[in-house]
């Protein structure tokens, strides 16, 4: 190329090359996409009771079974509505599969009449699943009223 003897002074680039930013961003994105696990079941319309003594359950996910009891008394296990008498038939094989480590998280609505929960309890006893957690939301500590 004929430049007539004049060399173009190149301006010193004072920017950090950001061309690899997109690479990094996509890598992170792919990481999250791959490591995200999705819920195995549909969320249910249940309002949980509150309790101050709510504890965190440290159990691997595979040993946990959610048992929903809605306010009208209908019972849902793994997205299937189960009549109360069938609960032990559904739970027993799951309990056996889990090497007797199954924890049933009883997610019952706060206003469901207790007799439904009691029926479920009896069925769980029949199935042999003794480890039960009543799912609750953490209640804020109620300050004592000064008398």
């Amino acid at each position: 190329m004929l430049t007539g003897g004049l060399k173009r002074k190149s301006k010193a680039a004072s920017e950090i090359p950001s061309s690899s930013l997109a690479d990094m961003a996509f890598l992170l994105l792919i990481f999250f996409m791959v490591s995200t696990t999705f819920r195995q079941e549909e969320p249910r319309e249940v309002e949980f009771p509150e309790a101050q003594a709510t504890q965190k359950l440290d159990e691997p996910r595979k040993n946990i079974l959610h048992l929903y009891v809605e306010s009208d008394g209908s019972i849902y296990i793994n997205d299937r509505q189960t009549p109360p008498a069938e609960v032990s038939n559904v739970i027993a094989p799951i309990y056996a599969d889990s090497d007797r480590r199954l924890v049933v998280v009883l997610r019952a609505d706060r206003d469901v009449p207790y007799r439904y929960v009691d029926a479920v309890q009896k069925e769980l006893q029949e199935a042999g699943a003794y480890r039960v957690t009543f799912y609750t939301n953490l209640a804020q500590r109620v300050t004592r009223e000064r008398r």
């Binding site: 930013l21 509150e50 007799r115 009691d118 006893q125 480890r131 957690t133």
Partner: protein, 140 residues
């Protein structure tokens, strides 16, 4: 003159991809912000085995009857006196009773039509007070 074109303006034919990083980061921040960890929590309890009805002396039993309106009837062992309290007082009653008798068992009987949260409130009080031997039954 009007037709003089700048030599440098060669149409490159490429779509500018400089905003790809922006989009990627936006998506990333979206996922970071919306991810919720579903934690398991609640009041743990171990149900007794079926048919494992242990005979316990009435002296070691604190009867708590949970009613539909949320109040609790407290009856100590064989004593005929029944005290009607609100659920909030159960922790204190348990602590007192446990102090006097470390073998105390709480027998919680809930009315069939009482809302579930009444039983949870009493169970909550008992577990807050450190009770470990709790029996949950329905009021016949």
């Amino acid at each position: 003159m009007a037709l003089m074109r700048k030599k440098g303006g060669r149409a490159s034919g490429e779509i500018p991809t400089s905003s790809m990083a922006d989009i990627a980061f936006l998506l990333l921040v979206f996922f970071l912000v919306t991810t919720v960890f579903d934690e398991e929590r609640g009041l743990p309890i171990v149900l007794p085995e079926q048919g494992e009805e242990q005979e316990v002396s009435q002296r070691n039993v604190l009867h708590l009857t949970v009613l539909e309106d949320g109040t609790v009837e407290v009856k100590r062992g064989e004593s005929p006196t029944v005290q009607r309290v609100s659920a909030r007082d159960v922790a204190g009653i348990w602590r007192l009773g446990f102090q006097q008798n470390p073998n105390l068992i709480a027998a919680v009987k809930t009315a069939p039509n009482a809302p579930y949260r009444n039983m949870v409130a009493v169970l909550d009080q008992l577990q807050t007070a450190g009770a470990e031997r709790i029996s949950l039954q329905i009021l016949e």
